[in-house]
């Protein structure tokens, strides 16, 4: 009998197993955290698990995304994850969604599932998950890593605090594993904490980390909890959600670094560097200004509303966020340079373009 070892626990029993079978959980991201969470939820018998990720497996994933096989490099993470989970437990249903979570699919998806698990690698999606959970009245299990430290909490659970109650400032630019580095065990440990929260919530046992942020340090095994209260008194409804995110998602345009560099002599164009002062390589362009992303909103007056603003950061992620901010403040001609300073540098070096 597959689930015998957990059914004999007084906290679980046949009733608990039935609750697990009836539960529908969506794991957003099939990367480091997702790869740790999925197998354990599948093994425990969560009846229906969705896994959403549009990425393909890369060789550098395999030092921490332990459910993938070396000969599966290039294949879809969501589909490979589904195959692994079903071969572990053929009794459950796995829905593999080869897409990114976005403004169009978030609400329909969240309406279908009971619990969302944040296994993402960027802040923008965490805010999207939060807002869609608020609209659909669903909880989400938050997890995140910075090098050897991790954070876990459960948001929007039984009227508890949300992610925005903890981190109201959306303009932050925290680094992910690509930029900072991570050991497989770190995402493994935090993923375990997240799977643990899901199981406690479904079974109705133990204390769920709602209203508490747990920070775990892999290097010294220090574990700390911080209490937080609900502060956000303006819950989003579906209309507000669509207005907010449609503005952000539909109008952020990207321009290739090559095309951007063709504009260096155009006086109607302004290059905006949103990195911090100390970041290299510096790209010296005549029509340019540097305003770090975290200072951008207070310094908008330094930018000419009539110019076409081409934004770059290190690799093209923060510049999209900057573009969203400018769009919200009536800047119409705004584009984010894909590939960022690194790509600009590469093209300049290869073509010996004269930039000043």
């Amino acid at each position: 009998m597959r689930y015998n070892r957990q059914i004999i626990l007084p906290e679980v029993g046949e009733k608990g197993q039935e609750k697990l079978t009836q539960a529908k959980v969506l794991i957003i991201g099939a990367g480091g955290l997702g790869a740790a969470i999925l197998p354990y939820l599948a093994a425990a018998g969560i009846g229906e698990i969705g896994i959403i990720d549009d990425d393909a497996i890369e060789i550098s994933n395999l030092q921490r995304q332990v459910i993938y096989k070396s000969d599966a490099v290039g294949k879809s993470k969501a589909l490979e994850a589904k195959e692994m989970a079903l071969s572990l437990n053929p009794l459950i249903q796995i829905n593999a969604i080869t897409d990114t979570l976005n403004v169009k699919n978030a609400i329909p998806l969240f309406e279908y599932y009971d619990i969302m698990v944040d296994a993402t690698d960027n802040l923008h999606t965490k805010y999207l998950i939060n807002d869609a959970c608020v609209v659909t009245h669903k909880p989400f299990v938050y997890g995140s890593i910075y090098k050897f430290q991790g954070q876990i909490s459960v948001f929007n659970y039984q009227n508890g605090p949300t992610y925005r109650c903890l981190f109201p400032d959306e303009s932050s630019n925290s680094k992910n594993c690509v930029d900072s580095g991570v050991m497989g065990i770190s995402v493994g440990i935090i993923g375990m904490f997240q799977a643990n929260e899901v199981l406690k919530m479904v079974l109705g046992i133990g204390n769920v980390l709602s209203g508490e942020l747990l920070i775990y340090n892999m290097l010294n095994n220090d574990q700390q909890k911080f209490d937080l209260v609900k502060t956000n008194t303006n819950p989003l409804n579906q209309l507000d959600f669509e207005k907010k995110y449609n503005i952000i998602e539909n109008t952020v345009l990207e321009i290739s670094a090559k095309e951007a560099l063709e504009q260096i002599d155009n006086s109607d164009v302004l290059f905006l560097d949103v990195r911090n002062e100390e970041e290299l390589p510096k790209i010296s362009l005549t029509n340019s200004i540097q305003i770090p992303l975290s200072d951008l909103e207070e310094n908008l007056k330094k930018l000419d509303l009539n110019k076409a603003i081409l934004i770059y950061c290190q690799s093209g992620i923060r510049s999209k966020k900057a573009a969203e901010i400018l769009k919200k403040h009536q800047f119409l001609k705004v584009q984010s340079i894909s590939g960022g300073a690194l790509k600009l540098q590469e093209i300049i070096a290869n073509n010996a373009i004269s930039v000043s």
Partner: protein, 78 residues
Amino acid sequence: MLKLKYFGAVAEKIKVQEENIPFSNSSLQELVDALEQKYDLTSLSYSIAVNQKIVQDTNNYMLISNDVVALLPPFAGG
């Protein structure tokens, strides 16, 4: 005496995970402003907790001796 605890990118910037500083009658925001100045934290975003509780209204929170203040930046890796 006040105990300060730092996490993530904040701890990296400051180069320590915790430190003790002399106590002075100040609001939490005043303490944070002083730390921002001292360690050049303006490009970092973080929430602030005192004695393991997140505080939102830092301007009106008065510190007392032996308080433990933590700076908590959001993590993004996954």
